[in-house]
Amino acid sequence: MADEKDVMRARDISQVSAKQRVGKVLFHILVYAFLIIMALIILFPFYWMIISSMKTYEEYIRSVPTLWPHEINVIANYSNAFSQASLSRLFLNTLYVGVVSTLLSLVITVLSAFAFARLEFKGKNALFAALLATMMIPGELFTITNYQTVTVFGWMNTYTVLIVPFLVSVFYIYLLRQNFLQIPNELYLAAKVDGTSDIKYLWKVMIPLSLPTLISITILKMMGAWNSYIWPRLVTKDDHSLITNGLRNAFTANDGTTNYPVQMAAVAIVSFPLFLVFVFLRKYIMKGVSRSGIKG
C-alpha cells in the first residue's frame, strides 16, 4: 500500500516537472560526454605507452606513426626489458626508498602543518611566507651545493642520501595546512578544555579529517621516488640505484640510440604495481569524510 502511494506521488511530481526532468537527463548526458572526452584525452599517452611497448623498433621509427602495431612484438620486448635492466633489485630499492621517505615525510609534514594551522607563535606568517619563497628558486641550482653537503656528511651511496634531502616539501606542508585550516577551531578549543593533548587531538581528529589530503601526499611522494633520476644517478652506484636510472640506461643500443619499444615495455612493467596501488587506494581517497553538525 505504501509503495503504491509513493509511486503515485512520484508520478504527480513527474508530471508537474516533465520539463525539468528532460533538462536533468540532458544535463547528465552533457556531464558524461564531457567526462568521457576528457578521459579519452587523458588516456591517450597511456595508450601510446602500451602500443609503443608492443612495436618493433623498425615500426616505431616510421615517418607515419601507427595507431595499432602491425607486427606485435610483445614477448620479445617485455622479456628484453626484464633481462636487460636488473629490474627486481631496482624495484626493491625504489620501494624501500619510497615507503621510508613517504612515512617520514608524512610525520614531518603533519607536525609542521599543524604548527602553521593551529598554533600561534611569533613570526608565524613571516616564516610561512619564507617557506613559500623557497619554492620559487629552480631546484636545479641546489643540486651542486647539496651534492657537496652530502659528501661532507659521508652519505654517498647509501639509502640515507636518497631519502633525507627530500623529506621536507613545502608544497605538502602548504597543502595540508590548507586542509587543517578548514577544520573548525572550535573542535580544538573544545579538546583543550577536555584536557586532550595536542598529539592525541592530531591523531584522533585532524588526521582522520584530512585523510584524503594525506593520501594524495602519499601518492605524490611515492611517484617522486618512482620518477627521480638525476639525484640518484649522482649519489648512488649500482646497488642503490632507483628504477628510473635502470630504465633510462639499460636500453641504449650500441650506436647510442635508445630502443624505445623495449624502454616502454620496461616502463609499463614498473608502472603496473603503481597502478594496482592506485586501484586499491582509490576507495580511501574517495571515502567521503563525514563531518556532520559542524561548519565545513
Binding site: 568521457i36 576528457m38 620559487m136
Partner: protein, 314 residues
C-alpha cells in the same frame, strides 16, 4: 592567544622540517646568492683557484642576453594562460566526477592513470600527435607525408591543417601546443587535490540548496567554489610557481632546440636559460637569472596571497 607554552611547542613541531630546510634548501640558496654576485663565476675555473670580482655584472649579462625578453615573455605568457585554464578545467572535471554515480569508480581511476604513465612516454606522445612529417614547406615542391593525428582530426571536421611545431610554424601555433600540453600535464594533480577537497564538503549544503531549488550554476559559484577556496588557492598559487619554472615541457615537445627547427630558442624560458648556463660554464649567470626569476615569482605570489586572503573562506 600567544602564550609562551604554545611558542615553545610550535617550534618543537617545526624543528625537523626547519633543520632539513636549513641544510638542503637555505644553504644552497645562500650559495646561489653568493655566486650571483661573483663576476663570471665558473665552477671549473673556481676549482683551479680563479678569483672573481664582486659586482652586478652577472645580472647585467643576463639582461643583455639577446633572447632575454623573449624568455621572459614566454615564461609570463605560459603562466597566465595555463594556470586559469587548467584550474577551471580541473574544477569542472572534479565537480562532474563528484556528481555522477554510474562509471564514477572507473572514471576516477582513469583520471589517476597519468600518474603511472612515465614522463618519457608523455613527452613523446604529444610531440608525435602534433608532428608533421614532410619537406619543402611553402614551396611548389611541398610534400606532406603525414600531417599528424591532431591535423587529421581537424581535417576530418572540415578544418584546415595547421603547422604546429615544425619548420615554418607560427609562434601562435607553438604557444597553443605548449598550453595544451602544460594544461594536460597539470590536470591530474589538480583534479586529485580538488576532488579530495570536494569529498570533504558537507553534503548538507547541497541538500539545502536542492530544497531551495537553487540552479546548478549558482550552486557551483555560491557553494562549491567558496567551500573549496582553500584548495583552489593552493592549486593556483603552486600553479603559478610551477608555471614560472616551465622548461621540461618545452623540451618534451621541441627537444633541446626549444623552438621549431628554423627558429631555435623561440620558446626558451627563464629556467631554460638557467639550465643552459648551468650546463655550460656560467654558474654565476645562472644564479643571477635565478634570483631575477625569484623576484618575479615572489611579487606574483604576494599578490596571489593578498587576493586569496580576501577571497578564501576557512
Amino acid at each position: 592567544m600567544v602564550d609562551s607554552k604554545h611558542q615553545w611547542k610550535a617550534w618543537i613541531y617545526l624543528l625537523p622540517a626547519l633543520v632539513l630546510i636549513l641544510v638542503f634548501t637555505v644553504w644552497p640558496i645562500i650559495n646561489t646568492v653568493r655566486l650571483a654576485f661573483l663576476e663570471n663565476y665558473n665552477m671549473m675555473t673556481a676549482l683551479k683557484g680563479a678569483k672573481f670580482n664582486i659586482n652586478f655584472n652577472n645580472f647585467i649579462k643576463v639582461v643583455q642576453y639577446p633572447g632575454f625578453k623573449s624568455c621572459l615573455l614566454n615564461t609570463v605568457l605560459l603562466c597566465i594562460l595555463t594556470v586559469p585554464i587548467s584550474t577551471v578545467l580541473a574544477l569542472l572535471i572534479a565537480v562532474a566526477l563528484n556528481s555522477i554515480k554510474g562509471l564514477q569508480k572507473f572514471l576516477q581511476t582513469v583520471f589517476f592513470l597519468p600518474y603511472v604513465t612515465n614522463s618519457i612516454a608523455i613527452g613523446m606522445v604529444f610531440a608525435a600527435m602534433f608532428n608533421m612529417v614532410g619537406n619543402a614547406y611553402g614551396t611548389q615542391n611541398e610534400i606532406i607525408v603525414t600531417a599528424g593525428i591532431i591535423n587529421n582530426i581537424i581535417e576530418f571536421f572540415g578544418g584546415t591543417r595547421v603547422n604546429w611545431i615544425n619548420v615554418g610554424s607560427s609562434y601562435l601555433a607553438n604557444m597553443t601546443v605548449m598550453v595544451i600540453y602544460i594544461v594536460w600535464n597539470a590536470l591530474p594533480f589538480k583534479i586529485l587535490i580538488l576532488l579530495g577537497g570536494l569529498q570533504s564538503i558537507n553534503k548538507q549544503y547541497y541538500d539545502a540548496a536542492k530544497i531551495d531549488g537553487t540552479r546548478k550554476g549558482r550552486i557551483l559559484t555560491r557553494i562549491t567554489v567558496p567551500l573549496l577556496s582553500p584548495m583552489l588557492a593552493y592549486v593556483i598559487i603552486t600553479g603559478f610557481i610551477g608555471g614560472f619554472k616551465e622548461y621540461t615541457s618545452i623540451v618534451g615537445i621541441f627537444g633541446e632546440k626549444l623552438g621549431p627547427a628554423d627558429d631555435a630558442g623561440r620558446l626558451n624560458t627563464m629556467v631554460g636559460y638557467i639550465y643552459d648556463s648551468l650546463a655550460g660554464k656560467h654558474q654565476g649567470r645562472a644564479s643571477a637569472a635565478a634570483l631575477i626569476l625569484f623576484g618575479i615569482i615572489l611579487v606574483v605570489t604576494l599578490i596571489n596571497l593578498r587576493v586569496s586572503k580576501k577571497r578564501v573562506h576557512y
